[in-house]
């Protein structure tokens, strides 16, 4: 009885669109020209929102903000693969996902300005509030997916998180539960290679994050996270698999955070400038634009129009937030419980004086 092999695994990576905008036709997902245009519009809108948020933060009009620059493909293309009624569990760096799902822009501004009303997801959408403690929303996604299965609803739960989140116990317990219960969950990691100042090599000794799914009995796939088509295809297949009873999937979108961690961070303290430069060359937006140009889906006019629309939508959203103004102070008493406890009610009376 020699040492014998009892299991073997292969971890795969999917790439479709290269840096010059050439797509591998054999692998292309079924996306119409209109759909591709829509993805592109969402990417531009996300980027424009991101830039505006950074600017507003610098002007002291928003609080700390986490930029998504460089991660637009991973966010937009995966969210585009979802249906409106799927459940979305974002981390704090998911502007592109929220926008693509149709989350109102002015509410995102509210959120980043420190107003919880921005997290009151509108009816018809199931986008959970931003999760600040890293990785702790993954069990919610597992549970939501379990609930979908129990209730017989054909919906998937999509959880978004970073490479740093894969080190948390919550990641482990959520993946394990989803595996055991074959829950319709899709776990989407944006491996942007940094968790604030901690590089991937300090986050894990594993060669890929995708292989972490092996521990839970389902598959993990790495995709080029700056490649809209690879991301879309992987997400679409995973969502369909989830909805048809095939259980959970894990997608590692290999990408890069082009900005500082947040506006409170200075990444030049810990990150080689050259690495950032290299990844700027792999810009996911540019890559899709090149493809669309080649395919005749985009010209200067469309580009200009899309940019203008984005700016306009953002202007309107910001003004709407400003018009609404800050929440009334006694709002803080209204949501601790459905009905305020006697103590809370008394404190509110004291507060109102």
């Amino acid at each position: 009885m020699p040492e014998k092999s009892i299991a073997s695994f292969d971890v795969k990576r999917l790439e479709i669109l290269d840096e010059e905008g050439n797509a591998d036709k054999t692998l292309m997902p079924g996306l119409s020209g209109g759909e591709i245009k829509h993805i592109y519009e969402m990417m531009l809108l996300s980027r424009a929102f991101d830039e505006r948020a950074l600017q507003l933060q610098r002007e002291g009009r928003l609080g700390t903000y986490a930029s998504i620059r460089g991660q637009e493909a991973a966010q937009v293309a995966s969210a585009f693969a979802a249906e409106k009624t799927d459940w979305i569990f974002p981390s704090f760096r998911e502007t592109g996902v929220q926008i693509t799902m149709g989350y109102p822009l002015y509410m995102l501004f509210q959120y980043w300005s420190g107003d919880e009303r921005g997290m009151k997801c509108p009816g018809g959408l199931n986008v959970f509030p931003v999760c600040v403690p890293v990785g702790t929303h993954l069990p919610h996604a597992a549970g939501a997916a379990m609930a979908m299965k129990i209730r017989g609803e054909k919906k998937a739960a999509l959880a978004y998180f970073g490479d740093g989140a894969t080190s948390k116990g919550d990641f482990h317990e959520a993946f394990n539960l989803a595996g055991v219960f074959r829950a319709p969950a899709v776990f989407i990691c944006q491996n942007n290679q940094w968790a604030i100042s901690v590089p991937l090599s300090r986050q894990t000794a594993a060669g890929t994050l995708a292989q972490k799914a092996l521990a839970y009995g389902f598959t993990g796939l790495q995709v080029d996270g700056n490649d809209v088509f690879a991301v879309y295809k992987a997400a679409k297949e995973a969502i369909e698999k989830a909805k048809s009873g095939g259980g959970p999937s894990f997608i590692e979108c290999f990408t890069y955070r082009l900005s500082d961690h947040t506006t409170a961070d200075d990444s030049t303290r810990y990150r080689p400038a050259q690495e950032v430069e290299e990844w700027k060359g792999r810009d996911p937006v540019k890559r899709l634009r090149l493809y669309m140009e080649k395919e005749g889906l985009l010209d200067g006019e469309f580009q200009k129009q899309t940019e203008e629309q984005a700016e306009k939508a953002i202007d309107e959203a910001y003004h709407k937030m400003e018009e609404i103004g800050p929440p009334p102070a006694n709002d803080m008493f209204a949501y601790t419980f459905e009905k305020p406890s006697p103590g809370e009610a008394q404190q509110m009376r004291e507060f109102l004086g």
């Binding site: 919880e116 009303r117 009151k120 069990p139 919610h140 549970g143 939501a144 609930a147 919550d170 419980f337």
Partner: protein, 320 residues
């Protein structure tokens, strides 16, 4: 109406509510085929099947976290944590999520879940099986905390907890599980969260307690003209009943099983000292476990507040 113990009363509440409301599901370790290590979920797996009575992996973060997700999507999960000492694995989920989801989403998503767990000393169990850290949960805004003191209360309180639209930590004194039997109606009835009850009427001293200490407090109260209050809920809690009793008696003794410092008794005492001090004849006294790491079972009896210690404190109060 039959005389049943607390395990049976809880089991009855769960079974009845699951029959009535298909959204109610149970999850936890060994809650299914095994019926729970204390048998509170006995027979439910056979009756409702594995989709509604879910044996889970050994995973407190995952269990509570998943229950949060479920509760936000229309289910009413009742989680069992096998012993309170193991709830800390889920503490982050409880504090940062269950307690805050309503506020964070301005009511769009809520957590109508119940976390049941046996707690307290006196069962000569292994280490980490005997703590009573209810005060930690009572300090967290957005959580409700309920503690039954006997079978009748247990059933009515658990039904309220399951139907409550907010997260409830439901602490079951393990020492009482099979200790006392009471007549518990087969019909459903509720005992509202946030309210205390008078376990006994008296005029000379107010004794305040909850959970497994209530029994001992009642025994110690013999021979005194004591108003005994069973808090039943620690968050929100019925300060009104306590204050009006103290205003009547002028004396207060609070009895808790937990160590003294920063226990829930401190909150009760502080509230009395803030809102009823003019009526007091003497100090507000606390009976509590010592401020030490809970010892293994051989010394457990020395650690827990006993009837003698409670009596002595009542006598001390009566000297004023």
């Amino acid at each position: 109406m039959a005389a049943v113990n607390m395990v049976q009363a809880l089991n009855m509440a769960l079974r009845q509510e699951m029959e009535k409301d298909p959204s109610v599901v149970i999850l936890g370790e060994d809650v299914g085929r095994d019926g729970g290590v204390f048998r509170v979920t006995e027979g439910l797996f056979e009756k409702f099947g594995g989709e509604r009575i879910m044996d889970t992996p050994l995973s407190e973060t995952g269990i509570v976290g998943a229950a949060i997700g479920m509760s936000a999507c229309g289910l009413l999960p009742v989680v069992e944590i096998q012993f309170m000492g193991f709830i800390y694995g889920a503490f982050d989920q409880i504090v940062n999520h269950a307690a805050r989801l309503r506020s964070r989403s301005r009511g769009r998503f809520t957590c109508p879940l119940v976390i049941r767990t046996p707690y307290g000393a006196g069962i000569k169990a292994l280490e980490i099986h005997s703590e009573s850290t209810e005060a930690l949960f009572a300090h967290i805004q957005g959580l409700k905390v309920a503690v039954p003191s006997g079978p009748y209360v247990a059933k009515g309180l658990l039904l309220s907890a399951i139907r409550d639209p907010d997260p409830v930590i439901f602490l079951e004194p393990a020492r009482l599980y099979r200790m006392i039997k009471e007549d518990v109606p087969e019909e459903q009835y509720t005992i509202p969260l946030g309210r205390a009850r008078k376990a006994r009427e008296g005029k000379a001293v107010t004794l305040i307690s909850w959970g497994s200490m209530l029994q001992r407090t009642m025994k110690a109260a013999n021979g005194f003209d004591a108003d005994v209050i069973d808090l039943m809920s620690l968050s929100p809690w019925d300060a009104e009943m306590v204050l009006s009793s103290v205003r009547k008696t002028g004396r207060a003794v609070i009895v808790q099983e937990a160590p003294k410092t920063c226990g829930f008794a401190s909150e009760v005492a502080a509230t009395i000292a803030e809102d009823a001090i003019a009526y007091l004849r003497g100090p507000v006294l606390r009976v509590a476990a010592y401020d030490v790491v809970l010892p293994f079972s051989k010394l457990e009896d020395y650690y827990m507040p006993g009837i003698e210690r409670i009596k002595n404190k009542i006598e001390e109060a009566m000297r004023y």
